[in-house]
Symmetry: C2
Subunit: 203 residues, 2 copies
């Protein structure tokens, strides 16, 4: 009956799907969904356009796949926020991890930013289903720390917003940061943000 057995993907399938997704990440993050073309992705992947469409049902399929995969990576640092750890250490480590991601995964950051910027047309369900519960959970953890007198009284939601915005800024607005910075911005950012959130969170 149910013979829709997944039939594990061949080595070629794995390789080519990966090639395509990596190329698509380049192109989508650089030009946005509408600005990216299948031809660009095909060239970047070193495959022909019809071949791309052999592995994905269409442009949107590639984009959605990319966003789904990204979601996991993206939320990971927040998942690691440990309710049983030392509050200040946990939060400052979270800031550091997010800044590391902005430095190491700028394409992913910009892909995400572009999607949200345009109203999250393809990611909205993911936000509600995955991000919201995690966000609420971690807000409760932070609120617990505050109630226990271990952190200054801040609104956990806006605290997290400010962590996201200040760190992702260095990836998403890189073109601007580059114009305005002399030296390596990330190193300065690490020191500055560490100081900033230490001051904000100290009781």
């Amino acid at each position: 009956m149910q013979d829709d057995a997944p039939k594990k993907p061949s080595r070629i399938q794995q390789r080519n799907r990966h090639l395509i997704l990596d190329a698509a990440l380049d192109v989508f993050s650089a030009h946005g969904y509408r600005g990216a073309t299948l031809d660009q992705i095909a060239v970047a992947a070193g495959l022909s356009k019809p071949n791309i469409l052999y592995y994905f049902t269409g442009k949107e399929d590639i984009h959605v796949t990319l966003l789904s995969q990204l979601m996991e990576t993206w939320l990971d640092p927040l998942v690691e926020l440990d309710a049983t750890g030392d509050p200040m250490t946990e939060l400052l480590d979270y800031v550091r991890r997010k800044l590391d991601m902005a430095r190491d995964l700028p394409r992913e950051s910009r892909l995400f930013a572009g999607e949200i910027l345009q109203g999250a047309p393809r990611m909205h369900p993911h936000l509600v289903a995955d991000l919201k519960p995690l966000f609420d959970e971690k807000c409760a953890v932070i609120q617990g720390w505050i109630d226990a007198g271990k952190l200054a009284q801040v609104d956990p939601r806006h605290l997290i917003f400010s962590i996201w915005s200040t760190t992702q800024h260095y990836a998403d607005f890189d073109a601007q940061v580059q114009v305005l910075s002399d030296e390596d911005p990330i190193e300065g950012a690490r020191r500055y943000l560490d100081m900033l959130f230490r001051r904000v969170l100290s009781v």
Copy 2:
């Protein structure tokens, strides 16, 4: 000889150019440069496509005009930062003005963000010519305040980056903020950011 006299625009010209730019702001900020079409802009403006092209030489012309106009509005709050004023008051007022802009001019914020996100292909010259000098000047002002012992020791550049990112976040990432917020986010943001930068800047 030089009869390239500007020949002041007629009432119709003024009205239609304004209609077009307003419609284009809607469309460009919602879909990005490549995602926006002249047809969309024409419909939004209530004019025919060829008529749009009577007032602007092309799609890019509209976009560039929009960005140029935006630049002035965008830098205005920073221009108002007064070196002779009280440092803490001046900076907290700057934060408030930026947050007001995120609330009142979200389309402009997103247009700007989209352009930077894609590497500022059309705005890079403006950034170097207009933003950079102003940025450097105001950084020097802030550094002066710090040297005078009136503010905490912070890197002025990263301070400004953090003001930009935290405030613009509420416009650019509105789709995400909406999913994660119960009440009006801006009011909470005002209180939070006021507290945040007060703590960061206090000696």
